[in-house]
Structure formats: C-alpha cells, structure tokens
C-alpha cells in the first residue's frame, strides 16, 4: 500500500523538476542565443528484498527518477537588427569569450559591443576572442565590416583602405550536449571535452542576432500535459488514501459484527 504512495510521490517530484525547466525556458523566450532545456526521466527499479524468505512471489516496483536535463542545441531564429556589431552564427559553432579571470566560455549570443578601451566584448563585458587574442579597435576606426568567415575589417580615419582587426574564433564540439550552462547565455566545457575549430562552411551573419530556440507553443503543450499528469497522480494518491481509510474502518467494525 505504501509503495503506491511513494511511487506517486516520485512521479510528482519529477514533474516539479520538469515544471522548473519549462518555467526557465519560457522565462528565456526572448533571450538571445538561449538554448532550451529538456527533462529526461528514467525508471528506477527497487532492489528486490532477496535476503528475506517470502512465501509469495515478490514483485519489483519501479519509481520515476529524473535522469538528466539535456540541452536542445538546435539553432534559433536569426533576427535582423542592423547593428554592425551583432553577429549570428549560421552553422554548428560557438563564439569564444573570455571572462575576467581568464576562463574560456562559449556562446551563440553575438550581441557584441566595444568597451572603453576599444575591445570587442559581450554585453556582460567578457572579451571576445579572435585568432590572435582579444579584438581591439582603434579610436579612429569606423565602418566595421565582418565577413562571413568572421574576418573583421574597418576603415581607420581617412584611410581609404581596409585595415584588419582580427578574425572571430569559431569552435565546435563533437558532442555539444556535454557543454554546461553557466548563465549569461554562455557555456563552459567540462575537463574531458575539447573545442575543435569550426567545420568549413560555418558562416557568420553581420547585423543579425540568434534568438532563443525555445518553442513557445511546444512549451505550453508540455505545461498542460504536465499539470494534467500531476493532477492524475494526485487523484490516484487520493483514491489510495480513501481505499486505505475505508479498509481500516471496515476492519475496525469486524469484531463487533461476528
């Protein structure tokens, strides 16, 4: 009898986690470069009570366990912004950014700007890493052009020729699902995951930004399914509880009737 309650409870715990994940996805519906999370559940087989001798056949019970959350790395929609320092990646690759303490992170959010010292940075102020370290602009630079391969060229002062300012470093991963979210639309690579140069044919688009890949309709459907499922489990628990109460009260009446 208690098993039914505990199994129901394990399902409800898992559903609560899934709700947290959906809430986070929907909260980030308009976050540039955001990748949606999904929950993955597994059944957990209760170990058999084999060291005890039972006369009846022992049945195994299974619980629900939230096994993992996996990141949906599919590309988001590309929105045109017109800002010359906005860059979207067309292809399976990531920009490399560097935090103030020297840690390298990866992001699909190409909403860049120039800081007071002329360096190309993310909106959090992390340096964008180019082929030769941080990308630095001179104070007289204007007309920034970023080529599909990520090459950044500018016109310096009254000079009529382009001057190169570096090339955006693009990396890819054999299994991007192993990346870990670190907030600020950035990912970190665990110790055993290495970044490879992006495959040929990966292009960047200047003046555009990658939107969040959260599918609002899909998330709403999941949300409805989840609340219904939660209510169903609650109803089962309710019935179990009623059944238990009834049997107890009937058993209590037994001695008086005989």
């Amino acid at each position: 009898m208690e098993n039914a309650l505990l199994i129901g409870l394990s399902r409800q715990m898992a559903l609560t986690h899934e709700l947290d994940i959906i809430a986070n996805n929907i909260a980030n519906l308009n976050t540039s470069g955001f990748k949606a999370d999904n929950a993955l559940f597994a059944q957990y087989l209760m170990p058999q009570a084999s060291d005890q001798s039972f006369t009846g056949q022992d049945r195994r019970v299974t619980y629900v366990e939230d096994r993992a959350s996996w990141i949906d790395m599919s590309p988001g929609a590309i929105q045109h912004t017109g800002d010359p320092l906005d860059v979207a990646i067309d292809g399976n690759a990531y920009f490399v950014v560097q935090t103030p303490n020297g840690q390298q992170r990866y992001t699909r959010n190409g909403s860049f700007s120039i800081n007071s010292t002329g360096q190309l940075v993310t909106s959090e102020g992390y340096q964008v890493v180019g082929d030769g370290g941080p990308i630095t602009f001179q104070s007289t630079d204007h007309d920034v052009v970023i080529s599909p391969t990520g090459m950044i060229t500018v016109r310096e002062g009254a000079n009529a020729n382009d001057s190169a300012r570096g090339q955006l470093q693009l990396v890819s991963f054999a299994n991007p699902a192993q990346l870990q979210k670190s907030g600020g639309s950035t990912f970190t690579a665990p110790a055993n995951v290495t970044a490879n140069p992006a495959p040929a044919g990966t292009n960047v688009v200047q003046g555009a930004i990658e939107k969040s890949n959260v599918n609002g309709v899909g998330e709403m459907a999941r949300l409805i399914e989840l609340t219904r499922s939660y209510t169903d489990v609650s109803n089962i628990l309710q019935e179990q509880s009623d059944e238990r109460r009834n049997s107890l009260s009937q058993l209590a009446q037994a001695p008086t009737s005989s």
Partner: protein, 262 residues
Amino acid sequence: MRALDTAATGMAAMDLQVQVIAGNIANMTTTGFKSQRAEFQDLLYEHVQRIGAQASDQGNILPVGIELGSGVKTVGTPRLMTQGTLEQTGNTLDVAIEGDGWFKIQMPDGTFSYTRDGSFQQDSQGRIVNAEGDIVQPTITIPPNSTGLTINQQGQVSVIPAGSTTSTVLGQFTITRFANNAGLQANGSNLFTATVASGQPQDTLAGTDGAGTLQQGYLEQSNVEAVTEISNLIAAQRAYEMNSKVITAADEMLQTTSQLMK
C-alpha cells in the same frame, strides 16, 4: 516552488521589454533619436547532477546532468547607433551628421553633452545654440544682418557680413567621437554624456579621423523601425502571457497537493 520565481523573472523581463518598445515608439519622430533594445541573458543554473560526474566505481562518466535554471535577467538596453535617414528641411541652421560623430554642446553648468540632433537656432546674441538654448561648440557668433549662411561638409560656418560681398568663415563645428557610442548615457532632450564605458571624448572635425560629414538643411530622423517594434511588442506580450500561464500551472499543482490532505 522554483517555477513561480522563475516565471516571475520572465514576466519582469517582458515588462521591461514593453517599456523599452514604448520608449522607441514614442520617439519615432524625434530628431537624432537612437532606438534601444533590451538584451536578456539566462540566470545561473543549479547543477543538481553535474555533467561529467562519476556515475559508478567503474569510472562511468555521466554524459548529461541535471541543470535547473533560475530565470532571466536584463543585462542591458544597448542603443542601436545606426544612421537615421536624412530629411530635407531647407532650414539653413539644420545640420545632420552623415557618418560617425556627435555635436558637442556646452550645458549651462559648463559641462559638455553630445547630440546627433542638429536643429540649431540663433540666440539673442547671435550665437548658434540647440533647441534648448545650449551653446554648440565652439561658440560661433553670427554677426547681425549678415546673409548667405552656409555650413560646408567639414562644418565650417561662413556668412556674408552686412555691407560685404565676400563670405567670411566664422568657425568650424567640433565633432566628437567615442570608442563605444553605445556606452553613452542618455540624459533626455536628445543629449548624451560620456561615461567610463563610452571612453574619453575625442574632439575632431567633420570628415577627419573617421568622423562623418555634415549636411546643411537636413535633419537626421530617428532610426526606430515601426515594423520591428510592433513585431517585438507582439512577441513580448505573448511571452508575458506564457510566463503567467506557468505561474497558474505551478499554482494549480500546489493546490492539487494541498487538497490531498483532508
């Protein structure tokens, strides 16, 4: 329940998004206005089960973990510093900058502000001032009864003084550039001030060192694009609704649980 707080951050973010859009739409016809965009990022994650943790004594590594996010934050409202379209006004003291750079304006307290709004006037002493009466730098005084006021592409202001037939150069507008235009602080009245993020102001002249050139008789329109703003508004409104649905769902689930106890 975490979902309640997470959805609340989403609603707050969309509220801010609508505020930014409202500001843009309200300034659709403001001279020299630069549209803003709200930039969001996801908040920190709780790693319930860390990726790459050991799953067993045999050294199995978990390929995926459990990460629970805690919502969204607004990281900034950068301005889109693109050129607005130039509208011909025919007014001799209307000047537009075509390209990078800002007009330098001296405020009544002696500090400097910067603007792209070149709808200038003359004050009672003949000085060239902006619509608020603040002096455009450097101070250029137009002698009374002079005619033929011209401002060339390099910002040189010249007039034909009364009783003369040849034009005289009165001065040349200062054009200021910044390393990071988006880091300027907006102070209303189309005026911006320098901040640590924008970098030091670099005074130069129109047409040199990367600064744009000037167009007399034109004004720079706002760079707000109505279609973009309206589509962003729809998206923000729908996202707000969806976040509120999550709160309703979390509430219903809590209610279901509380009804278990009789």
